[in-house]
Amino acid sequence: MSEHARLTAWRLFWIFGTLAIIEASVRAGWISTFFLAAPSRAAVTLWEQLVHGNALQLTAITLLEIFMSLLIATVFGVLAGFLLWRFKLAGRSYETWLAALFSSPIILAYPVFLVTFGRSSAAVIALSSIFGLIPIIINTKNSFQNVNPILLQVGASMNLTRKQMFRHILLPAVAPPIFSGFRLALTYILKSVLGLEYVAQVGGVGMWLSDAAFKFEVEEVYAGLFGTIALSILFLYLINRSESLIRN
């Protein structure tokens, strides 16, 4: 057995072992079904929602919100990051503000977005875009700033035009570090979209979870929770895979 397979087996053992203990505790009546659904019941509910319910439709809404937020954050983030690098004074002036904004609890401002965009996916997309925007701006600016000066000197010695310099030297040099910002942004957008859907009760999977909790449908709450966790994990896995593909 390879080392990787052994570690995976151990991880699965821990995950399924914990679920088995919970299942046994609920079935034996040690924990009331009023608080905790048996994992098997939650899995069946999730499956029924996927096949007969509207879970797929809700997942599609969540994915669309994530995609739109990422698109907006990428377009404006890369542009703003480039401009902050190009205009050094602006870069030095606003970088601390951006970092401060990023570490502050701006998600609490979501009612402002509900007032502006109404109780709709647009509000979720608008606020989540901001979450994605900041790491992309900071990473893009830093990526341009950290381009090896020798590369630029080589370009200058070859009499490259500004356009050629950008296309053949700057762009290839900044692409991998910008991707790290993109990865970070996607993680934040995912958290923000699912969290906002839940608290504001709009959109997709998060809204489903909120509805189930509101109706005190315990099995559906756990099914929604499983769905949300699965979606988050799947996203992180895909991001990690694509990052390793790009880097290799």
């Binding site: 991880r11 609490l108 979501y110 402002v112 007032v115 958290k191 839940y198 979870l209 709450v221």
Partner: protein, 268 residues
């Protein structure tokens, strides 16, 4: 003449001047939009109205019960997350084979938005302060545990070997070698954990609560008291920034190594 002009230009072209002028421009722009109703009427109340409301929060006991409720949740969350996160981080970080199994699971779990676990906490703990405390605690747990693990990983093996050679007991090694070596990362974890606890607890308050600053934001939103809502948001941001600064300065004094990894907060 030209030299004096250049020196003046250099003095004007500083980040501080740019920041101040941007802020001034923002305030003037906001006020114009608000007074003319050019964009989203009612969404841009006068800046003076916002500051007047902010002054009320600071100078009167109006917000005191809500501040107390939120502080209880945040403080409790941070304490609980530290009590669990630091020992677990030390335990996982000290056993390489355990860490290899556990670390990816923690990293994946860290990505899940913690607020979605709130309905489970409501089922177990009710809608009082304890369910919010639990959300804050689980949000703060991950940065604290992960940075403790990072700290443990950075401890040079040679320090431990030297301690063993001179006959130090496991407890002495833990107190004299590990703790000082990981203090910087642990403090950084606690500081970032505080931010996560604030966001987790207050966001949960906006969902369902009987008191707290997050609860008041949604109350003002429901009553369409936009100026009050903005001022409360500003109040929370100021409170969070001041607390963060105090912790940063305190930890920098206690352990200069806590200055490392300034961007760590971006990863949680």
């Amino acid at each position: 003449m030209a030299a004096r002009q250049n020196s003046l230009q250099a003095r004007i072209r500083t980040p501080w001047v740019m920041q101040a002028s941007s802020l001034l421009l923002f305030i003037v722009g906001w006020e114009i939009i608000g007074r003319t109703g050019l964009l989203f009427p009612d969404l841009f109340p006068s800046i003076f109205e916002i500051f007047q409301s902010l002054w009320t929060y600071i100078s009167t006991p109006l917000m005191l019960p809500h501040i107390q409720a939120s502080l209880y949740e945040i403080g409790g969350a941070l304490a609980l997350a530290s009590i669990l996160g630091i020992p677990l981080g030390i335990l996982w970080g000290s056993r390489r084979n355990w860490l290899e199994i556990v670390e990816p699971l923690i990293l994946y779990a860290a990505v899940v938005p913690k607020i979605v676990i709130f309905p489970v906490f409501i089922l177990f703990l009710g809608i009082g302060v304890h369910s919010k405390l639990a959300v804050g605690a689980i949000a703060a747990f991950f940065p604290i545990a992960l940075l403790t693990i990072a700290g443990m990983r950075d401890v040079k093996k040679v320090y431990v070997d030297v301690a063993r050679t001179i006959g130090a007991t496991p407890l002495q090694i833990a107190i004299r070698v590990y703790l000082p070596a990981i203090a910087g990362q642990v403090f950084a974890g606690i500081r970032i954990g505080l931010g996560a606890a604030v966001t987790g607890a207050l966001l949960a308050e906006t969902k369902i609560a009987k008191a707290g600053l997050g609860f008041m934001i949604v109350e003002y939103y429901a009553q369409f008291r936009i100026a009050d809502m903005y001022s409360l948001l500003l109040f929370i941001l100021i409170l969070a920034a001041v607390t963060n600064w105090v912790m940063k300065s305190l930890f920098a004094r206690l352990s200069p190594a806590s200055r490392v990894n300034p961007d760590a907060s971006m990863y949680f």
